[in-house]
């Protein structure tokens, strides 16, 4: 049966894949292609954050009463990552490869340590806290627009 853990971890992997593509594109000269790949990646990230911030985190907070706990730290890290998204998009606009790759590398580590905390702790806690409403929560998350 699909759980919040398996669904959201799967989505992380989908985002990782798009990250790898955008980073690989940046070794070429085709800035239009780099921009396309970057935006595919950023769209997937924004969508993932939206699922968490609009559905998963509020449901978790409501169920557990923990509003200043793990979800708060995760929201803070989303803010930090959004800054890196903007920096990457700027680098592509200015066609600055070193800046792009440096920001991408930084984002990769930031994103991976963030995902690790979610996959190993938060999602499991969410699976437990939302045990009675898994299907409903998943459905709401799937319905979140890009």
């Amino acid at each position: 049966m699909e759980t919040i853990s398996s669904y959201m971890s799967g989505d992380h992997h989908r985002c990782d894949e798009l990250f790898a593509q955008a980073e690989a594109a940046a070794s070429g000269q085709d800035w239009a292609a780099i921009a396309t790949d970057l935006h595919a990646f950023l769209d997937s990230m924004h969508h993932h954050f939206k699922m968490e911030e609009e559905v998963l985190f509020p449901a978790f907070e409501q169920r557990t009463g923990m509003t200043m706990g793990p979800t708060q730290v995760m929201r803070m890290e989303h803010v930090q990552m959004r800054e890196l998204f903007d920096a990457m998009a700027d680098a592509v606009k200015q066609q600055d490869r070193d800046e792009f790759l440096g920001q991408a590398e930084t984002l990769l580590v930031m994103m991976q340590q963030h995902n690790m905390k979610e996959e190993q702790m938060l999602y499991h806690m969410a699976d437990q806290a939302l045990a009675g409403e898994t299907a409903e929560t998943l459905q709401k998350m799937r319905a979140v627009g890009a």
Partner: protein, 439 residues
């Protein structure tokens, strides 16, 4: 529902918690290089010389354990969701005790001074005790389902065993009391230290960082679950034949256990190389190259230790077999640790700066904090130093070029780390004043 006890999402501890360890470590490795130049080829005559013992401990405690301790204090909140309590105080105490303890230990060996030895035992024993208790509590609270946590627990137990055996040996070295099996105790001490503390920690950290930095598939679940357990049980089994002295079975049991241990470690190295070859990230980087080099050295060290044992049995020779140990320590452990530093250090600097400067000033990215060219230069020096060091086991004169290259590589490593840290200091000044306590 409340958070399980001890589970916390608190972020990184203050930057100086890991950095005081990271910035000290290369200086010990540099000291090793300088002493190697001083003693020269005589080092390769016997492993029991005080000079060899001093150098070994400067390397394993002063460099390897120094970084490993700092990295564990840093990583536990992220990897295990279980930060170490009072990280600042623990880090200061452990660092001070470790640094002074290693220096006194080396001096105690070189000057054959019981009093320096005693001082070293108190300092190192105390430092490791504080570390083991602080990290032990944190690991005990962490979720047990996580193979990294399980592996780290075994690594910590191994460190404790290593330290206790080390204290026994140091007291014997200082006061020459009657320790009949000191050769066996020494072998146990170094097996628990290298395969247990270093090996198990590298394995458990790899489970997280290999997939994370290069976007490789995860290690197979069965391997993650059983490999650290198997290695730990093998270390225990390997310690028993020594207890069963003169039972006649001793030799055979020891050989079988050693062969399985070699197979387990080889499996880890091969699995890691395979995962790295399947990475989704196309961008190659210094950390990846350091790890690949490290895994190849581990495989070579394992193969050579089997060959060495076989030759020893057939010839009944008593020559020293330095090559596997050089490849394990300098080729495998130092490379992996060095590669990790090049990810952790720029990332942590970025991370702390970004928390300080969000909305105030632009934060440099990881590559601006730690430029690729400087890392690569140091990496190539290291890649040249290791084979020369390995070959010095056959041609002792090669110890000179090996030590020079290794020393220069460590100077460059320290320079790279300090340059990155200067970027941190420069930018942290821009932070609003009330945030400065995190520096």
């Amino acid at each position: 529902m409340s958070l399980p006890p001890g589970l916390s999402f608190a972020q990184a501890p203050p930057i100086m918690v890991p950095f005081r360890f990271f910035l000290s470590a290369p200086l010990f490795a540099l000291l090793v290089a300088l002493l190697a130049l001083w003693f020269g080829p005589s080092l390769l005559e016997s492993r029991w010389q005080p000079s060899v013992l001093a150098l070994t401990h400067l390397m394993t405690l002063g460099f390897l354990s120094m970084v490993m301790v700092g990295a564990m204090l840093q990583m536990l909140p992220v990897i295990a969701g279980s930060p170490v309590a009072h990280p600042v105080g623990v880090a200061r105490a452990v660092h001070l005790l470790l640094v002074s303890g290693v220096l006194f230990l080396a001096a105690g060996f070189l000057l054959a001074s019981p009093w320096l030895m005693l001082l070293a035992m108190v300092l190192l024993g105390g430092g490791l005790l504080v570390f083991v208790i602080a990290v032990g509590f944190s690991l005990a609270r962490a979720a047990s389902g996580n193979p990294t946590v399980v592996g780290m627990r075994f690594a910590l137990v191994s460190l404790t065993v290593t330290a206790i055996l080390g204290l026994v040996l140091a007291s014997n070295f200082g006061w020459k009391w009657w320790l009949i099996s000191w050769i066996q105790v020494t072998n146990l001490h170094l097996t628990w230290g290298l395969l247990g503390w270093v090996g198990l920690l590298v394995i458990s950290v790899s489970y997280q960082v290999v997939p994370m930095f290069q976007l490789t598939p995860a290690y197979p679940k069965l391997l993650m679950r059983w490999l650290p357990r198997a290695l730990f049980v093998l270390l225990l089994l390997g310690s028993i034949p020594w207890l069963l002295a003169d039972s006649g079975m001793q030799e055979q049991v020891a050989i079988v256990v050693a062969l399985i241990t070699v197979a387990v470690l080889a499996l880890f190295a091969l699995a890691t190389l395979r995962l790295q070859s399947q990475r989704r990230r196309k961008q190659s980087d210094v950390t990846l190259l350091f790890w690949r080099f490290g895994m190849v050295c581990l495989l070579l060290a394992l193969a050579l230790s089997i060959v060495g044992q076989a030759m020893k049995i057939s010839d009944n020779a008593h020559g020293e077999n330095f090559m596997p140990i050089f490849l394990f320590v300098a080729g495998f452990a130092v490379s992996v640790v060095n590669g990790m530093l090049y990810k952790i250090v720029p990332f942590l600097i970025w991370f702390h700066l970004q928390s300080l400067l969000m909305g105030v000033a632009k934060v440099p990215n990881m590559r601006q904090i730690m430029p690729e060219a400087g890392m690569r230069r140091q990496m190539w020096l290291h890649f040249l130093a290791v084979p020369l060091l390995g070959l010095s086991a056959l041609w002792p004169l090669l110890i000179y070029p090996a030590a020079v290259l290794f020393g220069v590589s460590m100077v460059l490593l320290e320079f790279n780390l300090l340059s990155a840290f200067r970027v941190y200091r420069k930018h942290a000044k821009l932070a609003p004043k009330n945030d400065l306590q995190t520096i």
